[in-house]
């Protein structure tokens, strides 16, 4: 009992456990390349990848920066557009019926198919990438925000009514606040998709970014470079995700209790 509670509750364990998991996975990877003596151009070992990164760290980090910027811009844009749309949808059944199928349709389009079109429409700059990220993140943000706005307990709504609160007060002091944990869940789903979106967009018509690096390394059979780029992508994803988790802890301390 004491052992379990330490492993689940201690903040030290919360940091140490993921690291143990990560180290174990990397060891397994390394073990596989050694035991089966796999050629580095098929599957490079962790060490090869690390060496590759330190060959040209500045270059790779700058590509990471490009992808990171696109990801964050697209994600923020998705919030700025998605949250208000969700708020409007929740207020009106008519609008919900009008807009929801459209959203579903847009979401069901394979985003890879759209990537070349975006290039045709917007050129080779960062815009098609930002828009791709937006397309990827938009839906989970809208859904979770709408869901959150609908989840206000009737009891609390009745409390606000009995206190003679205006509609605006009810919205800001109750509904929106109550929806925040669910909105954040949407953000956390969206941020991982955002990273994927930026890579997809960079596969097509880009001259910068980690997606571009991966695509180029495929063409020149530089598997190790591809792995280095992929590793950077995962690190970026993880940092963005835990950044959101941290923000949630700071902004919504009351919501932790529900877990």
């Amino acid at each position: 009992m004491t052992k379990r509670s330490w492993l689940t509750s201690s903040p030290v364990a919360a940091v140490v456990l993921p690291i143990i998991g990560l180290v174990a996975a990397i060891t397994l990877w390394w073990g596989a390349t050694v035991v089966f003596s796999i050629e580095p151009f098929l599957l490079p070992g962790p060490w090869d990848v690390l060496v590759k990164f330190f060959d040209q760290p500045g270059q790779l980090l700058s590509e990471t920066g490009t992808s990171l910027l696109e990801t964050i811009e697209g994600f923020l844009l998705a919030i700025v557009i998605g949250v208000p749309i969700a708020l409007v949808i929740v207020r009106s059944v008519i609008l919900e019926r009008l807009v929801y199928p459209l959203l579903l349709m847009v979401n069901s389009i394979p985003k890879v198919a759209v990537a070349p079109l975006l290039v045709v429409w917007m050129g080779f700059g960062q815009w098609p990438k930002v828009v791709m990220v937006l397309l990827m993140c938009f839906f989970p943000i809208v859904i979770s925000t709408a869901q959150g706005m609908k989840s206000t307990p009737t009891e609390l709504v009745e409390l606000m009514r009995s206190l003679n609160a205006t509609r605006t007060q009810e919205f800001f002091k109750l509904r929106l606040r109550y929806a925040m944990p669910q909105i954040f869940t949407g953000f956390k789903v969206a941020i991982s998709l955002a990273v994927i979106g930026s890579v997809i967009a960079e596969f097509v018509g880009a001259t910068k970014g980690l997606g571009y690096v991966i695509q180029q390394s495929g063409a020149s059979a530089d598997t190790t470079l591809a792995f280095a780029a992929i590793a950077l992508l995962s690190v970026m994803s993880i940092i963005l995700f835990y950044g959101l988790v941290l923000l949630e802890h700071i902004l919504l301390p009351w919501a932790q209790e529900k877990r």
Binding site: M160, R177, W254, A255
Partner: protein, 265 residues
């Protein structure tokens, strides 16, 4: 203070309409403590919500302080069965919610009320907990916060819907003593719904017995036991027991009117 004349409430549901209340005539005097008892579903909550202005009666009229009720009033407070605290607000800030809402609508400033909030929290023994979040409190403490919140606007009328039913017996006794004290001090008019017959008797000047389907007033019983009364050690056990017994009998009688009221459309 509260006057209900021929009040009826019919709900239109999916499977036809339900008559929740019928022909309710009730006059609650200023400063009076009325408890409502009746079986589950006989319309007690509906009656409170009508007085609170959260619901418009389908027939009859509701008056508070001589004025017809058209919506929630500032001088009427509603206390729910569950604490209904906003989970992101501290205890103090939850208690301040009513005056904050007033301020948003052009009421007086917040600071003047802060002392009042502290005073109320102290009254219910929650001094030192002002900064805690609701989930850090026990159910009984949360219900005390809710009580403070409903006292914040110095209401003339307090409507309480089974406010203590989720509490253990001891806390319940304490809180009902507290409520009587507050009531005697402030001469607030209270309408209090409960499932516990003993609680109804101990608290009330008058007990209103409702029968279900449709909800009607079966009887109104005056309680003449001197105050303060208690459910605890020095309880007025014999008197309370005698009246409770009668109320038990009333409640377990079959409703004397139509057995089923679901009218198909």
């Amino acid at each position: 203070m509260i006057r209900l004349n021929g009040v009826g409430q019919v709900f239109d549901g999916r499977e036809g309409s339900v008559t929740a209340l019928e022909e309710i005539d009730l006059h609650v005097r200023g400063g009076e403590f009325v408890t409502l008892i009746g079986r589950s579903g006989c319309g007690k909550s509906t009656l409170l919500r009508l007085i609170a202005g959260l619901l418009v009666p389908t027939s009859g009229s509701v008056q508070v302080a001589g004025e017809p009720v058209t919506g929630p009033r500032r001088d009427v407070s509603f206390m729910f069965q569950r604490p209904a605290l906003l989970p992101w607000r501290s205890v103090l800030s939850n208690v301040m919610l009513p005056v904050e809402i007033d301020k948003g609508r052009g009421g007086r400033g917040k600071a003047e009320y802060r002392d009042r909030a502290h005073q109320l929290l102290e009254l219910v023994g929650l001094q030192g907990f002002e900064r805690r979040l609701p989930h850090e409190l026990s159910g009984g403490m949360q219900q005390r916060v809710s009580l403070c919140r409903s006292l914040m606007r110095d209401p003339q009328v307090m409507l309480m819907d089974e406010p203590f039913s989720a509490l253990d017996a001891l806390t319940r006794t304490e809180l009902s003593e507290e409520l009587q004290r507050i009531k005697m001090e402030l001469s607030t008019t209270i309408v209090f719904v409960t499932h516990s017959i003993e609680e109804a008797v101990v608290l009330a000047d008058r007990v209103v017995v409702l029968t279900p389907r449709p909800g009607r007033m079966r009887e109104v019983v005056d309680i003449d036991i001197p105050r303060p009364r208690s459910l605890g050690q020095d309880a007025h056990l014999t008197e309370v027991a005698a009246i409770s017994g009668r109320l038990h009998a009333l409640l377990s009688e079959k409703a004397d009117v139509r057995p089923v009221d679901e009218v198909p459309r």
